[in-house]
């Protein structure tokens, strides 16, 4: 039984062990096959578990491997829990993960570290499953850190380019800031509730919520800081756009569909606590909405095909976080689900485009251009029809065009915002329009018109290894809305026993119609503006454009507020404290001993008898001490 529960983790572990040990002798196809099969096997296991969970509302699977930490009152075991909430996340992770593994086999073809890539990817899958299957905060944190590690390794996968390595480092450092909050939150949970197990903590919180309001407020705030790191919210979102340095499938899997949603997942998991902290709820909602808006506007002026999607991801995460802040946890989880599909589809399509561009560059023997720069694209709809279809449907879903999945999930959040918090509603509504606009801009720049470079001219559709996952994800993108279709809302019913505070989603036809019209309008507007693609060329160069392209200059703010002072402090440390004080002390000590030693050299006469004399002095002193002191 336990083995069955652990099997989703064990499958990728098995895959990574196989690839890590035998990979050197295996062909690319074999490596990719092993990794993909491992992911697919995990997905199959999740499906089986899902079947078991449908049995009853209370059904849950738990497994304890071993006691982990036992110190005083602290008792943490390495134990896992599969319930209705985690199985959803597990299905997303393994399902989309399996598709992306498959896509990667084609995408990474010919890479010199092909084997290592799949080892990392499997490790990520196992780590992510540890995170979502955890039954206590500490195991969750373990998974949290493990996925952080994988993210670091994969962002900097092409570390030979310094910028990529720096991006990985940036992600790592920024995430650590959030982690500090998370760790403090976990510690405070233990101090407050005396346990780290989810069910115990939540039960105690509910029982004595009033008395502990202050502590719970602080805990939820600290946990939220962790979430801002992992899920890229203001002020810690700056790492995610840079994370696009990694291979595109990695961006799709880790930095869009799964890992970045870990913060949202964690907040949904901790929803009983958040319910008890209204102040934190408000902060979360506003931060989420602000993030959605800021990132959305930033996406308007990006020229890199992946950067647009990256900012879009940040923006959509803002929606989810905001939903959690509004108490609409299930809506947030629903958006997480649909977003996973359409954003993965978009990223893979983008990857396919990049792949096609690189291919075209090779075929054209033309001048080297940045294969990710949208200014060099155009007219790819005809060259890569499947990719175009996937991108189009994914983009429309992102823009919130019915009846695609994004429309339903976003609408649920907007309805909640409308009901609870007007400021949030306004921000999210604006963001929705902006989203539609930049989606339109991207579609036009990439696929419409005529090719603007030799590379685009010679681009061709990718192979079946890449298109099959693309098609599968596109199908998911189209139909994922059904999971919580207004009126039937099966997801809400499914999650209700776990996320008890979820309300049945409301459907406001007026709002839905309004946003449908706005989205379509924005898309048309975008087409109108970028009919002449050269308009995009200079718009990120100066003024507001530059401000937006730079992600509201958060990086500059950090550079001025954190990095610069840090450099100054480091310089002070290095040149004044280190050189003068520490080195001075060390050298001074050395010099002192040299001087003292030099002056004592003459004591070392080299005459054995002289040493004997000194020994005798010691003997006399010691004997005298014992003889005269012992009475």
């Amino acid at each position: 039984m336990e083995l069955f529960i652990l099997s989703p983790i064990l499958f990728p572990l098995l895959g990574l062990l196989t690839n890590a040990t035998l990979g050197r002798r295996m062909s690319e196809r074999a490596i990719g096959g092993v990794a993909t099969l491992a992911a697919a096997g995990a997905f199959l296991m999740c499906l089986l578990m899902f079947g078991q969970l449908t049995a009853s509302e209370e059904a849950r699977l738990s497994a304890t491997i071993a006691p982990w930490i036992s110190a005083g009152a602290l008792n943490v075991s390495l134990s896992f829990l599969v319930d209705r909430l985690s199985i959803v996340a597990m299905l997303i992770v393994t399902g989309i993960g399996a598709l992306i593994h498959m896509f990667s086999v084609g995408y990474m073809h010919g890479d010199e570290r092909f084997q290592r890539y799949f080892v990392y990817l499997n490790l990520f899958l196992a780590s992510m499953l540890v995170l979502v299957m955890a039954d206590n905060f500490l195991v969750m944190f373990m998974g949290w850190e493990l996925v952080g590690l994988c993210s670091y390794l994969l962002i900097g996968f092409w570390f030979k380019n310094l910028k990529n390595a720096e991006a990985g480092r940036k992600a790592f450092v920024v995430n650590r800031i959030g982690d500090v909050g998370f760790v403090l939150g976990i510690l405070l949970i233990f101090v407050t509730f005396g346990s780290l197990r989810f069910d115990e903590v939540f039960a105690r919180a509910e029982a004595q919520g009033e008395a502990l309001a202050g502590a719970i407020g602080l805990i939820t705030l600290l946990l939220f800081i962790g979430a801002t790191g992992k899920s890229a919210q203001i002020p810690l979102f700056v790492w995610l756009p840079d994370a696009m340095a990694g291979p595109t499938p990695v961006s799709a899997l880790i930095h869009a569909a799964t890992m970045v949603t870990a913060g949202v997942y964690m907040m949904v998991r901790a929803s009983p606590l958040y319910e008890l902290a209204p102040l934190t709820q408000n902060i979360v909602a506003i931060v989420g909405a602000l993030t959605a808006f800021v990132a959305g506007t930033s996406a308007l002026r990006q020229l890199d095909i992946k950067k647009v999607l990256a900012y879009s991801t940040v923006s959509q995460l803002g929606y989810m976080v905001s939903a959690c802040g509004l108490g609409a946890f299930i809506a947030g989880d629903f958006h997480l689900l649909t977003h996973a599909f359409f954003k993965a589809a978009l990223f893979l399509a983008a990857g396919s485009v990049i792949h096609g561009m690189e291919h075209g560059m090779g075929a054209a023997h033309g001048a080297h251009v940045d294969p990710q720069d949208m200014r060099h694209m155009g007219g790819l709809a005809r060259k890569m029809p499947i990719t175009f279809a996937a991108f189009l449907l994914g983009g429309l879903a992102l823009a919130g065009v019915p009846p695609l999945s994004g429309f339903f999930s976003k609408d649920e959040i907007l309805v909640d915002a409308f009901k609870h918090n007007l400021l949030v509603f306004v921000l999210l509504g604006l963001s929705a329009v902006i989203t539609a606009f930049y989606v339109g801009r991207q579609l036009v720049l990439v696929f419409a018109g005529r090719p603007r470079s030799a590379a685009a001219e010679h681009a061709s559709e990718s192979g079946w290894l890449m298109t099959v996952p693309l098609i599968a994800l596109t199908i998911g993108t189209v139909f994922a809305g059904l999971f919580n279709f207004p009126g039937t809302h099966p997801l809400t019913d499914w999650l209700a026993p776990v996320v008890r505070h979820g309300e049945a989603p409301k459907f406001e036809p007026g709002l839905a119609a309004l946003f449908t019209v706005l989205a379509i309008g924005a898309l048309v507007g975008a087409w109108w503006v970028y009919r002449h693609p050269e308009r995009a060329n200079a718009e990120a160069e100066a003024g507001l454009g530059r401000f937006l392209a730079g992600g509201w200059n958060f990086d500059d703010i950090y550079r001025a507020a954190v990095v610069k002072p840090f450099y100054v402090a480091s310089t002070v440390c290095a040149q004044i404290i280190d050189v003068a004080v520490i080195d001075g002390t060390v050298n001074g000590v050395g010099r002192l001993f040299r001087v003292v030693g030099g002056s004592l050299r003459s004591v070392q006469t080299g005459f054995v008898r002289n040493y004997g004399l000194v020994m005798l002095v010691g003997v006399v002193v010691v004997v005298a001490y014992f003889v005269l002191s012992a009475r």
């Binding site: 006469t605 005459f607 008898r609 002289n610 004399l613 005798l616 002095v617 003997v619 006399v620 004997v623 005298a624 003889v627």
Partner: protein
Amino acid sequence: MTDLPLLIILGAISIASALGLLLSRNAIYAALFLVLNFGVGAVIYLVLNAPFIAVVQVSVYAGAIMVLFLFVIMLLGAERLSPAENPPGIPLQRPLAIALGAALFGLALYVLFARQPPATPSPMVDSSPAAVGQSLFSTYVFPFEVVSILLLVAMVGAVVLTRNK
């Protein structure tokens, strides 16, 4: 104690021979003074009811160790100890050594006479070789084994040190 006069005579010889060792100019004489000292020591052991130790003293110290000394001295031809050809010794070595020796001796005297524990009449203990052997192979079997290893190591060491390469 009836043994005391005998002991005083033996002690006098013993001290005289020790001084002979300290002052002699000839290594052979020094060695022989030491042999004499050991011989007297053996007799003192006899008086103190330690016959086994006494004969072991003769056969080990006089019969083996000192013969070895004599042998080495004669082998090296190192018997003449003329201080004249030495480099001017170490300043203050002599007065300091004498002072410290005196201090050590003073401490010993203090322990012996100022801190004298009450003398209790003691029965004679069975100190036959059999008794000593019993003690060696029961109570002291571990030190005995350690010493045997030490002797083995010393043997190997001596062979290695003196072997011509």
